[in-house]
């Protein structure tokens, strides 16, 4: 092969540290798997699994509506209400945060940088922990869930809003300034129309997430459908678990469809 040719095409050398990375990965997995006790399943696991599946396929339809309350519909409504209110609260509160964190609004980099840091700090806080704290403040119930979602969503929404603000075209603001408009008028006529569809889009997106979060807040007593679900699980009332799961899946699917439809129309 090399006999007649003066030019030899060499295979490019690969990164010599590649195998180090592979070894590190293997060690990581060995460490991870060795620490997990994969033995000691409950012998009843298979049987319970079958009961749950049976429960899902023969749900407790009577639970959908009970005249005396505490039924599926009311639980779902509560969940929905928590997520709507939580989303609205955060969508309003995060606006000043977004302008604080947007690079093109503040004159100095450290101002927007600090805003971004605050937002990412809020974001790292799990909402369920926030709910635990709010339960201490306002007592167990839906309102604690609302506050937890409302505060927690600021982190993500503020970040997304800030990205939207950073993407605006400064031209219209300049044109408004040239025509003698003051700061507020520039904001209202040049910035707001540009960011509003994006804000609404992200708010709906966050709403979809919040509905999911709100279904689990009940696990710690912050309202919604999670409370009866945990109760049904611990009392092994599988048909009821089935109907609640079904209810959650149907509600979230419908909300995703509606929200997705509106979002598609916005863009």
């Amino acid at each position: 092969m090399m006999k007649n040719g003066t030019t030899v095409i060499r295979k490019p050398r690969k990164n010599p540290y590649r195998w180090l990375i592979y070894i590190a990965l293997v060690l990581l997995y060995v460490w991870a798997f060795s620490g997990v006790p994969f033995t000691g399943f409950k012998e009843t696991a298979g049987q319970i699994m079958r009961s749950i599946v049976a429960g899902i396929f023969s749900p407790d339809w009577n639970y959908v509506y009970l005249p005396e309350g505490e039924d599926l519909l009311r639980g779902l409504m509560d969940t929905l209400a928590i997520s709507i209110l939580g989303t609205v609260i955060s969508a309003v509160i995060c606006i000043p945060f977004a302008f604080w964190a947007a690079r093109n609004i503040s004159r100095f980099r450290f101002i927007s940088g600090s805003g971004k840091m605050v937002l990412s700090f809020i974001r790292t806080f799990p909402e369920i922990i926030m709910a635990l704290l709010f339960i201490k403040a306002v007592g167990p119930g839906s309102f604690a869930g609302v506050l937890a979602l409302g505060l927690n969503s600021i982190g993500m929404l503020g970040k997304l809003y800030a990205d939207e603000v950073e993407a605006i075209d400064p031209g219209p603001s300049e044109a408004l300034m040239a025509s003698g408009a003051n700061r507020l008028q520039q904001l209202w006529y040049a910035v707001v129309p540009q960011v509003l569809p994006g804000f609404l889009n992200y708010t709906l997106y966050r709403f979809e997430i919040n509905v999911r979060s709100a279904t689990i807040l009940g696990v710690i007593g912050a309202g919604g459908i999670g409370t009866p679900l945990i109760f049904a699980l611990s009392t092994r009332n599988w048909p009821r678990v089935g109907i609640i799961l079904l209810g959650i899946i149907v509600m979230i699917t419908i909300i995703d469809l509606i929200s997705g439809y509106i979002r598609k129309k916005l863009v």
């Binding site: 219209p172 040239a178 025509s179 003698g180």
Partner: protein, 258 residues
């Protein structure tokens, strides 16, 4: 009337944008500002309505110093100076009418404009302005659905609705094709002659400058190197402004005479 007295502008990185400029523009003039890119054309225009602050000297608009003006006073002076941009600077998602009405916000209280309650006379004014540039049938269309030439005409309508006495146009036709270029320049010329609005236009194409302007100002490295009527702006003088002979891409070509 616009007067520039000893105006200089130094950028933070120490490059000189404008160097000791003295100019006077009278009411009703159609002035074309020409020069290479980077010669300071845009800086000059943006200094007049103080989108850029100048480092030295003073600029007077109708005898009032815009250089010293602050807050409300500055906004009142700016209200009389319309500006047209190369990239149109419309709010793309808003309707044409709303974009034109945005030119009126300087006339009303903040609260009133935030509520969007423009008086009927403003809306009539906006429609008149749109008719003047032949685009009134698009009033309720979203701005991003118009072509570039149409968008620039909306921007002109915005300035008309603003009832500006002076119009600054910063490369108004640079992003347009030759045919729409002619339409937009015709609009500007008509507005200048019919309404007597002072027009100061930055232009890249020197044949356009010759055809439409009554007076040409040539800039080179932030200094005025030519100021006179079109008749004096011969090819030789242009070569001096540019520091080299005229090149083909500085001529728009035949369309303007069509």
């Amino acid at each position: 009337m616009i007067e520039l007295h000893n105006v200089s502008k130094v950028y933070p990185n120490n490059t000189k944008g404008l160097n000791n400029i003295n100019l006077r523009f009278d009411k009703g003039e159609f002035v074309a500002v020409v020069g290479l890119s980077g010669a300071g054309k845009s800086t000059l225009l943006r200094s007049i309505n103080r989108l850029h602050d100048i480092s030295e000297g003073e600029i007077l608009i109708e005898g009032k110093s815009i250089t010293a003006a602050k807050g409300k006073a500055l906004r009142l002076i700016r209200r009389d100076i319309g500006m047209i941009f190369q990239s149109f600077n419309l709010v793309k998602r808003s309707s044409v009418l709303r974009n034109v009405l945005a030119g009126r916000v300087g006339y009303h209280s903040t609260l009133r404009t935030l509520l969007g309650r423009f008086p009927k006379s403003d809306i009539e004014l906006a429609f008149e302005a749109l008719e003047r540039v032949n685009i009134s049938e698009k009033a309720y269309t979203r701005a991003d659905q118009l072509s570039g030439g149409q968008q620039q005409r909306v921007a002109i309508a915005r300035v008309l609705a603003q009832e500006a006495k002076i119009i600054l146009a910063d490369e108004p036709v640079a992003s347009l094709d030759p045919l729409t270029t002619k339409q937009v320049m015709d609009d500007l010329k008509r507005i200048n002659s019919e309404l007597g609005i002072t027009m100061i236009v930055n232009l890249h194409f020197i044949d356009l400058a010759r055809e439409y302007a009554t007076r040409i100002v040539g800039l080179r490295a932030g200094e005025v190197v030519f100021d006179g009527p079109v008749s004096e702006a011969t090819d030789e003088r242009f070569a001096e402004i540019y520091g080299r002979p005229i090149q083909q891409d500085e001529l728009l070509g035949e369309v303007t005479t069509a």
